[in-house]
């Protein structure tokens, strides 16, 4: 049978061989291998290949793939005299056994192309002319009037010689939100639900995106303009109006104070503070309280904790004194309102004794050039480079070469134990610091991912090369630095970034509101990377102050910030909130009395207890994802039965014991408990129920303890909303 098929095909192709167009690996064959899945991760693109045949993942290295095809297996993949008998054709067509199954039919165009290529002597092609230079997709944007609508698209590749080709069929297309916009087999996009998504189109190492908007088909939408506090609201409204989403009105005063206090300081407001704020008739009281919270020491502690997570401050990496000193450096940076670019520049250029210059602890966590580079791009630029260590990035344009060029900026960083225990000296090595490519050992000179300015002078190659990196990262013209920072900070106030995840900025993960992200970025740069200014701008916006209650137009929206979305308190916030509610501070034997959970410098303090259960990160990674915000059964059991809450509620010096001993009236006691836990006074029904409950025979203190226990076990306590 094989003989029959191949002979007939041979005749067919031989007849046309004379006038067959020139076929090259680069232009014609490699795209087929990628499209039919030969180079995919589960097949021959796997790290070790498949069944002795290894191709680069997703064909990122065509030269490697070409040589693998030609020279592996002693060149037996081709039969140039009888192309149809080539393994390269008989395997994917399953004329001989193939673990990967049928990849294309023997009558397909792909078969014919490869046949011609073999018949023409398997030419590689000219990298200058046969390499794709860029991709274009038509249309530029797909707007679907309602879910269920479909729209076609076309992909065009432009080659080095200026020629073009329609590659719609061979291009790989993925949706970043498949349940919003799905890709149909015949190059069409289908709207699944209201909202925005992006298609990522990949072809031969080039990328293009197609934004897709699925409009709300519900009739009767009439935009009601709410007050706009600043440009954030204008840009949010513009987007919502387009999507026919009506934003929620602002939250009430008590809700605002609770949310702002938690977001800015990680602490609940106190009962007296809430009473005073509610009673204050001033129209500017929200702006004032934002300023007051930002000026508090709790603000400094809260953001010191955040940065401690991202910079992985831990005794595991830095030793005892190093972890304390690094925290103090971070804290001082926050307290002194150090411009963010300056803070990052100091970290990246730090050197000397880690005791004398605690910023140098930054390098002790990752220690080696590659993870250091990965951390800096992820934390400071929001770019994940880790995939490109082994192969070109599958969803971004970053190549393996770029990975090592970027890592090269840190290849001269040396770390050596210092004189004192726990001290290390960070320095720049004088020799033998070249970064070499793992494949061929060639020296990789430092090179920026993208230029930050029009000045394209290559970075220096001496041992102080990381200074140039620091300049590049913190440049006002760096396309990632300010953008990723405002996006990250935004996420701390809304629970998700404008680009989300915040540390994975790439073409296939576009912003939900590009205009807003650009405006915030520009504003941040214009104000010299002032984080406090950025936070104040966000916190004062109507968008931030929106209520959690939705309307018929925004109930399903989760991407466009049209209403507040509840967020579970972080482990430290929860523990401090319990202390606030019960009036009893937890005791950490490793820290001085009265230390709040948010003031701890090290994730090993109080390890394996309440904080870890509720998702405190161990600071093993620079990823925001290490901090868990889920709600699990063990957490629920701990809240219901755990000693942390029950002991705090019943403590002899707790809020309830003090209130009972001082003879506080029932009404005041119930109000106190609501204010201390839920940060709002009880409504009439709640107050009535509370008073009734306290009046029972079981003992007023016991009943009050029950009430407080119930309050701190409610969602209204566990969530920031």
């Amino acid at each position: 049978m094989l003989r029959l098929v191949s002979s007939s095909l041979l005749c067919a192709f031989a007849l046309g061989a004379a006038e067959a167009p020139k076929v090259t690996f680069l232009r014609d064959v490699a795209p087929i291998l990628n499209k039919v899945g030969c180079t995919s991760g589960p097949c021959h693109g796997a790290a070790k290949g498949k069944n002795g045949f290894k191709l680069s993942l997703r064909g990122y290295d065509p030269q490697f793939d070409y040589e693998a095809l030609l020279y592996d297996l002693a060149g037996r993949r081709f039969n140039r005299a009888d192309p149809a008998r080539s393994l390269m054709l008989s395997k994917p067509t399953q004329q001989v056994a193939h673990g990967g199954g049928l990849r294309f039919e023997a009558t397909s165009d792909y078969y014919k192309t490869i046949f011609s290529w073999i018949a023409q002597g398997v030419p590689y092609g000219d990298a200058a002319t046969d390499t794709v230079k860029h991709l274009d997709v038509e249309p530029k944007e797909a707007i679907l009037k309602q879910p269920g609508d479909v729209a076609p698209f076309h992909v065009k590749a432009t080659y080095g010689d200026g020629t073009t080709r329609d590659v719609t069929r061979e291009a790989n297309v993925d949706s970043n939100i498949p349940n919003l916009a799905s890709v149909e087999p015949d190059a069409k996009v289908k709207g699944e639900r209201m909202g925005e998504a992006t298609l990522l189109i990949r072809y031969q190492g080039n990328y293009a995106t197609l934004p897709v908007t699925v409009l709300n088909p519900q009739p009767g939408f009439a935009w009601k303009q709410l007050p706009q506090h600043n440009y954030i609201d204008q840009l949010i409204d513009a987007k919502l109006q387009k999507l026919k989403i009506q934003p929620s009105a602002v939250v009430d005063d008590a809700g605002f104070l609770r949310r702002a206090s938690l977001d800015l300081t990680g602490q609940l407001p106190g009962p007296e503070e809430i009473r005073g704020f509610i009673a204050d008739p001033s129209k500017t009281k929200r702006a004032k309280v934002i300023d007051k919270l930002i000026a508090s020491s709790a603000y400094v502690d809260h953001w010191t904790l955040k940065w401690g997570d991202l910079l992985q401050n831990s005794t595991k990496y830095l030793g005892e004194k190093g972890a304390y000193e690094f925290r103090e450096w971070i804290r001082d940076s926050v307290a002194s309102r150090k411009p963010y670019d300056k803070m990052v520049h100091e970290l990246l250029t730090s050197y000397g004794s880690t005791d004398e210059n605690p910023a140098a602890n930054f390098y002790r966590v990752t220690r080696d050039p590659k993870p250091t580079m990965e951390k800096t791009t992820q934390v400071f630029l929001g770019v994940r480079m880790v995939c490109a260590q082994c192969h070109d990035h599958p969803f971004e344009r970053w190549t393996q070469n770029q990975y090592y060029e970027m890592a090269s900026f840190f290849s001269a960083v040396g770390i050596r134990p210092g004189y004192e225990v726990g001290e290390e000296i960070v320095y720049d090595q004088r020799a033998d610091y070249d970064m070499k490519h793992p494949k061929d050992g060639r020296v990789m000179k430092p090179k920026f991912l993208v230029p930050a300015s029009l000045d394209t002078t290559p970075p220096p190659t001496d041992q102080r090369r990381r200074l140039a990196y620091a300049d590049w990262v913190t440049s006002k013209t760096n396309p990632f630095f300010a953008k990723s920072t405002v996006n990250r900070v935004w996420s701390y106030f809304f629970g998700r970034g404008i680009i989300d995840p915040v540390d994975d900025i790439r073409a296939s993960n576009p912003p939900s509101n590009p205009a807003l992200l650009d405006a915030l970025t520009k504003d941040f740069i214009d104000h010299n990377f002032d984080i406090v200014y950025l936070m104040r701008t966000i916190a004062n916006s109507r968008t931030y102050q929106a209520g959690i209650v939705t309307n018929e137009w925004n109930a399903k929206d989760i991407d466009n910030f049209s209403h507040a979305i509840p967020r579970r308190l972080s482990a430290e916030e929860l523990m401090d909130a319990l202390a606030q509610a019960t009036g009893v501070r937890p005791v950490f034997p490793e820290a001085p009395p009265e230390t709040r959970a948010e003031q701890l410098n090290d994730p090993h303090i109080g390890k394996d207890g309440f904080l870890d259960l509720f998702g405190r990160p161990q600071r093993e990674s620079a990823c925001e994802c290490e901090r868990r915000s889920d709600l699990s059964l063990p957490q629920a059991l701990n809240l219901v039965n755990g000693k942390t809450i029950s002991d705090a509620v019943a403590d002899s010096s707790a809020r309830i014991a003090k209130a009972v001993l001082s003879g506080r009236a029932d009404r005041d006691l119930v109000e106190d408990l609501y204010l201390a836990s839920l940060s709002r006074p009880p409504n009439a029904a709640e107050l009535d129920k509370g008073l009734q409950y306290l009046k029972s025979d079981a003992g007023r203190a016991a009943r009050a303890q029950d009430l407080l226990w119930a309050l701190v076990n409610s969602k209204a306590f566990l969530y920031n909303f």
């Binding site: 005892e320 001082d332 001290e423 960070v426």
Partner: protein, 700 residues
């Protein structure tokens, strides 16, 4: 080969329970010119205790009537202390001597300010009294030195007042005064906002100092904490507050014995420079350190190195004579000091840097040697540290000032030596002493035991460490000035070599035992310990061991998940060697003897048989611990003990990989007495391993 490390630690400080032990001084400091009562706290202090100290003062024993709840009498002793006119501000050792031995040393600090004791640190006071600004202790006087203690994870907060524009120096003296606390100092405003913070300040080692100008009139808070919130036995600190002059650096860092050395103090309130003189004209010929004080200052003196080599602060045409000590400083960042040395091919030179070890420099030095053509021959201070047995925990590894052994290659008649900072830092705090000698192979010795009490009729043990500087061969230690009736055994540090697995053997420890005959008598005295090595060129090199002066354990923050193993606090600047005293008659003694050697596998292996015998009172241990010092590839096997556990046998077997050489062995055990366990150690015995070695290389 060490069988029981923990047990040896018990043995190290003192071999006999009845000898005095000091745990605390009350107070920790005194004001110059003001008599005071010094109460020493510890154990076994009741038997005619008297103070020995270099402090110019009269110590008159006084009786303090016991109060209800007061400690037992032999746990405290009190002295009326009258400082003499020539007493100067500084830190002085206090040791107690009784009829049955000498105690460890604790340090007493003499200053110029009135002294007060923190309320929380007063006897019978509750802890955590001043841990918040709400409960801060008010300190009204200035200048003042406030003596406090930190009990684990606590803050001590003091309320002070200041006037707008007023400058005041706040300084904590702790590590420099023998405390294990690593203090951190903060100044807060009336609302608790931090205005200034210091941890390790220039010229103060691990101690902090803040030179503060009050921005406005009002109350302020001064907070003292430990950098790790750790719990220490020696947990005191001295918070000094006043408008006094201080310096952050001194230059040069040392000078020649027998001379008056001009120095300059600079930094801090000393400004650009205060000239002074350090008098080394009458210094003890054995001393390696002196103390240099800023004139008319309440600041503690700085350690100043002393040597017997020609010293210089400038080199003529950049040429470095051999031998010499070059006193220099990296004045600015990125500075590299370069010197030329005239040599002959085959010359063997040793370059040593003194900087951070002195505590007066922050230089992490790198020494590099180039030939005349600029080709790098070797460097030190910039290479990975050896993975030796003392540095197994990553965060506890430390570096020391570098040294470099150089053999001049053929055809080279001039070499260049450079000194730079590893991180290319520079400035007033980056001084150094570059010692150049024609000495290819060298070593230094340090005593692990700050003092020793030898029981009459019994044995005490001491440990000596070696810092090898080119010499990897065996070192034999001796004690030349033994009291009559006292014998010494052991003291062999076997050679180091690279084994068949390309692993270096680290031999940097010797054990010596002193045994006093029954009925012998001698007064407390300093013993000398010398090490001797026959170098590869046949010359004999002798080096004298230096004592730590005092030994204070420093704990890590043990409650945390990761604990840094801390280096013990020592005071080599006290220039003590080995103070030794005769203790009470030994209640138990232990002996070990070799009973035979069996040749195994046609001479490839040997089995050494031993018997041990315990004599005296108390309940014996079930078995003894055996330590074979510095030998690898030896197994200690076949432990057998008599029914009464008073005697027994064991064997040590070598393998064909065992390195040939002379080795020491001893046994030890804990005997239960009525008043607790007593550590008993046998005199060291020796054995020789001959042949059978497969060691593939030696750096000798």
């Amino acid at each position: 080969m060490k069988i029981s490390a923990a047990f040896l630690i018990l043995l190290a400080p003192a071999a006999w329970a009845a000898a005095p032990v000091l745990t605390e001084l009350q107070p920790r400091g005194a004001e110059l010119g003001r008599p005071f009562t010094l109460t020493v706290v510890g154990q076994y202090l009741g038997d005619g205790a008297r103070v020995t100290s270099t402090l110019p003062a009269a110590f008159t024993p006084v009786v303090v009537p016991p109060k209800p709840g007061m400690m037992q009498m032999d746990r405290t002793a009190a002295f009326l202390v009258e400082l003499k006119a020539d007493a100067k501000p500084g830190v002085y050792p206090i040791r107690i001597e009784t009829a049955v031995g000498i105690s460890n040393v604790l340090l007493l600090t003499v200053g110029t300010f009135p002294e007060v004791v923190e309320e929380e640190s007063q006897p019978y006071s509750k802890p955590n009294r001043n841990d918040s600004i709400e409960t801060a202790e008010a300190v009204r006087a200035a200048p003042v030195t406030l003596n406090g203690t930190l009990r684990g994870a606590e803050r001590d907060i003091f309320r002070i007042s200041g006037k707008a524009g007023e400058r005041r120096v706040f300084e904590v003296e702790a590590r420099r005064c023998g405390s294990a606390v690593d203090p951190v100092l903060r100044i807060l405003d009336g609302s608790g906002k931090q205005l200034a913070r210091a941890d390790d300040s220039p010229g103060a080692g691990l101690d902090p100092r803040i030179d503060f100008t009050f921005p406005a009139e009002g109350f302020y808070y001064v907070e003292v904490t430990d950098a790790r919130f750790s719990t220490q036995a020696q947990n005191f600190y001295r918070l000094k507050m006043g408008a006094y002059t201080y310096a952050e650096s001194i230059f040069p860092l040392g000078g020649p014995r027998g001379k008056q050395v001009s120095v300059t103090f600079s930094g801090g309130r000393a400004g650009a420079g205060v000239a002074s003189t350090v008098d080394l004209s009458k210094i003890d010929p054995r001393a390696a350190f002196a103390l240099a004080s800023l004139p008319d200052s309440g600041a503690l003196p700085m350690v100043f190195a002393v040597s017997d080599l020609p010293e210089m602060t400038k080199s003529k045409d950049g040429v470095l004579p051999v031998p010499s000590v070059m006193n220099a400083r990296l004045d600015s960042p990125k500075e590299v000091d370069r010197y030329q040395v005239k040599v002959e091919p085959g010359d063997k030179l040793l370059f040593e840097l003194q900087a951070r070890d002195l505590g007066t420099s922050r230089l992490e030095g790198v020494i590099t040697v180039y030939d005349a053509a600029g080709k790098k021959l070797d460097s030190a201070g910039d290479k990975p540290l050896p993975e030796d047995v003392f540095a197994v925990q990553g965060t506890s590894r430390t570096s020391n000032d570098p040294f470099l052994n150089v053999t001049v290659p053929a055809g080279v008649h001039q070499i260049a030596v450079t000194v730079e900072d590893l991180a290319l830092r520079g400035g007033p705090l980056y001084g150094y002493r570059l010692i150049t000698r024609r000495q290819a192979e060298d070593f230094t010795l340090s005593l692990g035991s700050p003092y020793l009490n030898v029981p009459a009729g019994g044995t005490a043990m001491m440990v000596i460490g070696a810092d090898r500087r080119g010499w990897d061969g065996p070192i034999q230690l001796t004690v030349p000035n033994l009291p009559k009736g006292v014998t010494v055994e052991g003291g062999m540090i076997p050679r180091e070599f690279i084994d068949a697995n390309n692993t270096r053997s680290f031999n940097r420890r010797a054990v010596m035992t002193l045994t006093a005959a029954t009925g012998v008598e001698f007064a407390p005295q300093d013993l000398e310990v010398w090490g001797e090595a026959k170098l590869s060129d046949g010359t004999v090199l002798k080096r004298r061991a230096r004592g730590p002066g005092l030994l204070v354990d420093v704990n890590g923050a043990t409650a945390q998940g990761v604990v840094d193993r801390q280096r013990s606090l020592t005071a080599p600047w006290l220039d003590m060697e080995l103070p030794v005293a005769l203790a009470e008659i030994a209640q138990a003694t232990l002996e070990v003897h070799e009973s035979g050697v069996k040749v195994m596998e046609e001479g490839v292996r040997h089995e050494y048989s031993y018997t041990w015998k315990l004599r005296g009172k108390g309940m014996p241990p079930k078995n003894v611990e055996v330590d074979v010092v510095g030998v690898r590839d030896v197994r200690v096997i076949d432990f057998k003990s008599a029914d009464d556990h008073m005697s027994g046998t064991f064997a040590a077997t070598t393998t064909k990989a065992t390195d040939a050489g002379h080795y020491n062995l001893y046994v030890s055990g804990k005997v239960k007495m009525d008043d607790g366990d007593v550590a008993v150690v046998s005199p060291v015995i020796s054995f020789d391993v001959t042949g059978g070695t497969t060691s593939v290389a030696s750096s000798q």
